[in-house]
């Protein structure tokens, strides 16, 4: 069980506020566009344009528009030839810091799976063709996973703080937020920036295609006819602060993170244990960490990749633990953004809590016969949402869940 502090008293644990957030994803640039897309159940999955997918089964992904991403770049930034991932993190961090300009983080914890992978691809292709290696030093310098985080800190904060980059496959974003939460909750830190990012790349796209995990059809999480996932990309940043200190200085408090659970199921490197034990343990541990019962959860943003195996295991675990709690996978709208997914989905939960609605699970026809879930089908719904759970699970059997709550709930 994940429980920090003295075993005798939760009063030793600090409460953790989300005081700002920023997001870039196929759903839009910033919180307002994201909210609009969620409310209108927009399908943001489009044909892949960044590389050839002629030989892949899957031809679509959720993609962030380069036009928008690179618009308004100043000369200095343009000259650095930063990776797209850096620009996404810069946008997300900038949006968050506008909300709390006085926020001075002590630590940054960010999740990713593939860093600047497409620069690695360019480098390899150029090497093989023995040409166009003029930009190789730039590609190499911008390839490492920590680079977008450092770029964003230097660009937006003007300085950089220590960063921990977690690469726990598709659970990375939720793991990063969960670890950041525990850092503040334990009292070791007062202010931590956290989140996740990932930019789409040919290698990763082809990898999921080779596993036949991605689908040539629409992404239909928890549907009887689901056939797999589509990939996505994006970045999201949350500013976490000791709630008491945030209140004292009059900071806006968007929500509270109240629980985090992590588990490792060791079943298979790419498949979850079909019993659902991994997801169930992560959710149980999050509930225990928050000292709340399953009945207090109003909404679950599922990992819901729409693969046969994930949705069966996760659906089983949710069915075992919860009784009719509304569930949706917003990956149906924007694809699976891997290391960014947990962070973007945390922002989606935040929007649900702030605006009292349930984000939709689009492309939904009929529920898998083996599952008993209350899916938020095809349209967003107004609802009283006080507590939301967000799940992320990844290769290697790594599972993570976080619980967020409206402040004052």
């Amino acid at each position: 069980m994940v429980q920090l502090g003295s075993p005798t008293g939760e009063e030793t644990l600090a409460r953790v506020a989300v005081v700002a957030a920023g997001v870039v994803s196929p759903l839009g640039f910033g919180l307002a566009e994201t909210l609009d897309s969620l409310r209108s159940a927009r399908n943001c999955v489009t044909p892949v344009t960044r590389f050839s997918v002629a030989e892949c089964r899957c031809k679509t992904a959720g993609q962030v528009s380069d036009e928008h991403l690179l618009a308004g770049l100043n000369k200095k930034l343009r000259a650095k030839r930063l990776h797209r991932a850096s620009h996404m993190v810069i946008h997300a961090l900038r949006e968050a810091m506008i909300q709390v300009p006085e926020f001075e983080p002590e630590l940054t914890v960010i999740g990713t799976t593939s860093g600047g992978m497409s620069y690695g691809e360019q480098y390899y292709r150029s090497l093989r063709q023995s040409k166009n290696l003029r930009h190789a030093p730039t590609w190499i310098a911008n390839y490492p996973a920590q680079k977008p985080v450092i770029d964003a800190q230097l660009e937006v904060l003007g300085s950089s703080v220590p960063c921990q980059v977690i690469a726990n496959a598709c659970a990375s974003g939720t793991n990063a937020i969960g670890h950041a939460f525990e850092c503040v909750r334990s009292g070791r830190y007062q202010r931590v920036l956290t989140g996740g990012y990932d930019a789409i790349s040919e290698l990763v796209f082809t990898g999921f295609d080779s596993l036949q995990a991605s689908t040539p059809e629409k992404c239909r999480p928890f549907d009887r006819d689901r056939a797999g996932m589509v990939l996505g990309e994006g970045a999201a940043i949350l500013a976490l602060e000791n709630l008491e200190l945030a209140r004292k200085r009059g900071a806006p408090i968007l929500a509270e993170i109240v629980g985090y659970g992590i588990s490792t199921d060791n079943f298979h490197i790419t498949q979850p244990d079909p019993s659902g034990i991994g997801p169930r343990q992560a959710m149980e541990r999050a509930l225990q960490s928050a000292h709340i019962s399953p009945g207090e959860v109003d909404y679950i943003n599922a990992h819901g990749t729409a693969t046969i195996f994930n949705d069966a295991a996760e659906g089983k675990a949710i069915t075992q633990l919860f009784n009719g709690v509304p569930v949706s996978s917003t990956k149906s709208m924007m694809g699976h953004s891997l290391g960014a997914a947990g962070a973007v989905e945390a922002v989606i939960c935040l929007l649900g809590l702030r605006h009292q609605f349930l984000p939709p699970n689009i492309n939904f026809g009929a529920l898998d016969d083996d599952l008993e879930l209350n899916v938020v089908a095809n349209e967003s719904r107004s609802a009283a949402v006080r507590t939301a759970l967000s799940n992320s699970f990844g290769f290697g059997g790594t599972n993570a869940s976080i619980l967020m709550r409206s402040v004052g709930a």
Partner: protein
């Protein structure tokens, strides 16, 4: 919170096993460089590879198809747990955390996977190779071998990532339901890595690595893994399994520099924070690149009299594994009261380098300084209790 090192494991180009590698370093031995070539290039590089004998006896179904990076990690991790006399079972599987430090990850399989895509097309992409390209593959293999069911993190960064992983382990161990944290740093070498660092003017074609040299001729890559088992000092019986306890007194998360010239400032700040208590010696990350100058100038400013040692001329720059290797060197120096000779160093260096075997009997404090070439810096202080 003061954590103690309960056990260590080491897989290096000079073989495996803490005492065996240490003895070779004390004798002034240096790993043999192996040429690395690539089909589509005439250029060859040199690297310090792990001898096959270092992985003898490492057999587990989970490692059958695993890449070298995962095998190195498993060997080092299992050695560290054995040294700590920690046996993972269903009773304690949730009370042991794993934190991995990785830099370049599974480059060999990543290149092979992408080569098939480029040469033959996406339909040739291997579903067996792809999962091994993921950064957390080594951690998930070791978690599965051990049966660990709780916290498992893979931290990614540059040469400083090993110390950043220890910092994360310290944060993770704030959770009192955890008894141990196994921290593993691991790295494998491929021709593309050598070429990448070469194009970045950080790598030389053949040994030696000349630490703290004004010429900055570059580094040679090394591969392998290092592992330490951390526990609270209160678990004294476990901590003393290897003799007098070595504790991690303080981990400094350092920070990130924007330009290379800014690294020195960050190192000075880190060193000042770590040297509140006098340090008897420093394990440096000097590797023949620009970071040597930054470290030299920072050391000269803050602790000019401390004896300084770097093992990179003997073992190579192992990036993701290097921070863990440095901690092992520091712990061994404190425990054995002696430091190995720094190889290929300028005898006129302004630093107090241990140019031959140097006794450090009575040493109680050591500083580990890690400067990565990709903008990250970190440090920590070890103490002999």
């Amino acid at each position: 919170m003061s954590l103690a090192i309960a056990g260590m494991g080491w897989v290096t180009p000079l073989g495996n096993g803490i005492d065996a590698v240490w003895e070779r370093l004390l004798r002034g031995e240096e790993a043999s460089a192996t040429p690395i070539s690539e089909q589509f290039s005439d250029r060859a590089y040199s690297a310090f590879r792990v001898p096959e004998s270092a992985l003898t006896g490492l057999a587990h179904p989970r490692l059958r198809r695993a890449s070298l990076i995962s095998r190195f990690a498993a060997a080092a991790g299992l050695e560290a747990l054995q040294a700590a006399r920690v046996k993972v079972d269903s009773q304690n599987a949730g009370r042991i955390a794993l934190v991995f430090a990785i830099s370049n990850g599974g480059v060999i399989y990543t290149k092979r996977f992408y080569r098939d895509v480029v040469e033959t097309g996406a339909q040739a992409a291997s579903p067996l190779l792809f999962p091994e390209t993921v950064f957390n593959a080594p951690a998930s293999h070791l978690a599965a071998i051990l049966g660990v069911t709780g916290t498992t993190y893979t931290v990614v960064g540059d040469g400083a990532v090993g110390l950043l992983a220890i910092k994360m382990a310290e944060d993770v161990m704030a959770d009192e339901s955890l008894d141990y944290c196994l921290v593993v740093g691991t790295e494998e070498i491929d021709w593309m890595l050598c070429d990448g660092y070469r194009r970045w003017r950080l790598l030389r074609l053949a040994p030696p690595i000349e630490p703290f040299s004004k010429q900055r001729r570059g580094m040679i890559l090394g591969e392998g893994a290092g592992a330490i088992v951390l526990t609270r000092l209160s678990r004294r019986s476990t901590v003393e399994a290897e003799g007098r306890p070595i504790t991690i007194e303080r981990v400094h998360p350092g920070g990130c520099y924007g330009k290379r010239a800014e690294a020195e400032k960050l190192l000075v700040r880190t060193l000042r924070d770590l040297s509140e208590t006098e340090a008897d010696f420093v394990i440096s990350s000097a590797n023949g690149t620009f970071i040597d100058q930054s470290e030299r100038e920072a050391l000269e400013q803050v602790i000019p009299n401390a004896i300084t040692y770097t093992a990179k001329p003997a073992l190579g720059e192992s990036v993701g594994a290097s921070g863990l290797w440095q901690v092992i060197l520091g712990a061994q120096g404190l425990r054995r009261g002696e430091l190995p000779p720094v190889l290929h160093a300028d005898p006129n260096s302004s630093l107090r380098l241990s140019l031959s075997r140097v006794p450090v009997q009575g040493a109680r404090q050591a500083i580990i300084l890690s400067s990565g070439v990709n903008q990250q810096v970190a440090g920590l202080r070890l103490a002999l209790s």
